[in-house]
Symmetry: C2
Subunit: 335 residues, 2 copies
């Protein structure tokens, strides 16, 4: 099930780091990048760089991982559509999954595709920032449909749990995109709104003088390239919009409580509502150290929903013992 | 101008760390705490611990720094009202300043009072967490009124710039409380709202699995004691409420843009609005290393507004060369 030869499209922060990690795990890694700038460094790192994306496809990798920016996805898929070998499984690392699957299907490559999204990254970019340690302890979301091919799924899972040594959960595209909006895309907008609030304040120099740890942490993601953030938000617009309205209502409810009657009860409720998450975070180090492994046999039919049910209970896949036997640990269950 | 003998009320994280730092700077430090639990450790650290707050007042320190929780302030001030020596200057470290000054005045101690707020802290609490390094590179806000006494102001400024080796800005209470709401109190509510959004999501275990750096940073302050956060928010309620309504409007505007027409222009504006802050942050390390010193002579009358004008231009006081000569550096001016 573990792929032996993997092609990587795009040697930026995410793709470059992945290519290095896969090479370090003993895998044969081929790559193509839209400019040859990273090629000397990548070749020195043991990665075989090819002159065209068609040449990469012609090398018939077991798995081809698209690590290009999402805005280049239609062009990348158009280039691959006619030339990708039937045996090559296609996956990607994009931060939204529904849109990518639509594009893959439009390119006629839907049957070979399994979605993936590694929860790894930082504020840097490009090959010069590539570092296999970026994937240390990473969790990947793998997205499937009801008709996804199990052999192709195993190839992607083998890369993640076998070669990368990472954990994974399996969900459908919609669930992924909702969850990613909640823990990343929407918070990026909130951080940006905080920065805008400061910049437009007449006493912004005084506020900046007073800014300490809480401000720094809450606005860090607003300091990254705002165009990249904007693209990420636009690609998941419906989920982000709904969540912004929810958060906006929560903030207004606190403002109303601070201004008006019923203040004690409303504020007590607001400040207690997140307690299950606080309790989980307090215990998380212990959970990571001690959560036992559990073995789950997967059915031949309905394996997709069986795996998504595991994710819904906060159970992460840590490895496959056999092609139908997954080993899971309950690592993100909020009591 | 530098105080020789300083009393500290409350040996928690902030007060305990300050007491240690002042002792390490060669100052005589006396302390009282509402329980004697920290006394053995504090005495071993060279801090003279007194059995009652009245005994602390009777020791006639040049400066008495109130580091008790804000909710204990009325009781603390009532205990001091009858016994505090006229020569002792009173200050505090509370995160809101208007309310504390009102309480100090109600206790009849207004003429001896200069407000202060060190921008230092972490998620821990109590004497066991005390560490003089908490104040490394800290900036303090010092709050004055039009009739504040200059000699008393110099005593507090001497503790900050001389003994602690810290920077300071001088503002009025209202400006302080507005700025603190912007960079700390309101963001704490926003972080709490994000956690509540996750906890109430039906897919919260999946979202928690995917949560990585951006979520961790944006919700860190929501993991601290929510009762402490609630108290901080309630003490600055009018400013927090106004800012929550502003941020809420900003989030709704983005949601409307994502859902509707005029999307490109609105999103472009939203993601560009904070650019002056991004530019400042990119340059900040350079600014800290290279911003030149500038000498400012203070007038005998109107020194309060002269100092607040410096703060409004992002100029921080780094030391006093003479009692009327401050040395400033422009460290928080957003272009």
């Amino acid at each position: 099930m573990t792929p032996q030869r993997i092609g990587v499209v795009g040697l930026g922060l995410i793709g470059g780091s992945l290519a290095c990690r896969l090479h370090d795990a003993g895998c044969e890694v081929l790559a193509w990048n839209h400019t040859t700038r990273p090629y000397a460094g990548a070749e020195a790192r043991g990665i075989r760089c090819l002159p065209t994306i068609e040449a990469l496809a012609a090398a018939q990798p077991d798995l081809l991982v698209l690590c290009n920016p999402l805005k280049a996805m239609p062009e990348t898929l158009a280039a691959l559509a006619g030339v990708l070998d039937e045996r090559t499984t296609l996956t990607d690392v994009g931060s939204v999954k529904g849109m990518v699957r639509d594009q893959v299907e439009a390119a006629g490559l839907g049957e070979r595709y399994i979605g993936a999204h590694p929860m790894a990254g930082n504020e840097r970019s490009g090959w010069s920032a590539a570092d296999p340690a970026l994937y240390d302890d990473a969790l990947w979301a793998v997205t499937v449909r009801g008709d996804s091919d199990y052999r192709r799924f195993l190839s992607v899972a083998g890369m993640i749990t076998g070669l990368c040594g990472n954990r994974m959960i399996v969900v459908d595209d919609r669930t992924h995109d909702r969850a990613a909006a909640l823990i990343s895309h929407m918070p990026h907008v909130v951080a940006t709104a905080l920065v805008n609030e400061l910049v437009t304040d007449p006493e912004r120099d005084i506020a900046t003088a007073l800014a300490a740890g809480s401000w720094r942490d809450m606005t860090r993601v607003a300091l990254t390239d705002p165009d990249r953030t904007r693209a990420m938000v636009e690609e998941d617009d419906a989920n982000v919009s709904r969540l912004l309205r929810d958060v906006s209502s929560r903030l207004l409810a606190v403002a109303d409580a601070l201004d008006g009657a019923g203040r004690d009860a409303a504020l007590a409720r607001f400040f207690a509502e997140g307690d299950p998450f606080r309790t989980f975070k307090t215990a998380q180090t212990d959970i990571l150290a001690h959560a036992p492994e559990r073995i789950v046999e997967l059915p031949e039919h309905g394996w997709q929903t069986a795996l998504t049910d595991l994710a819904r209970r906060g159970e992460h896949i840590v490895r496959f013992d056999t092609p139908r036997t997954v080993v899971v640990r309950e690592l993100s269950h909020i009591g």
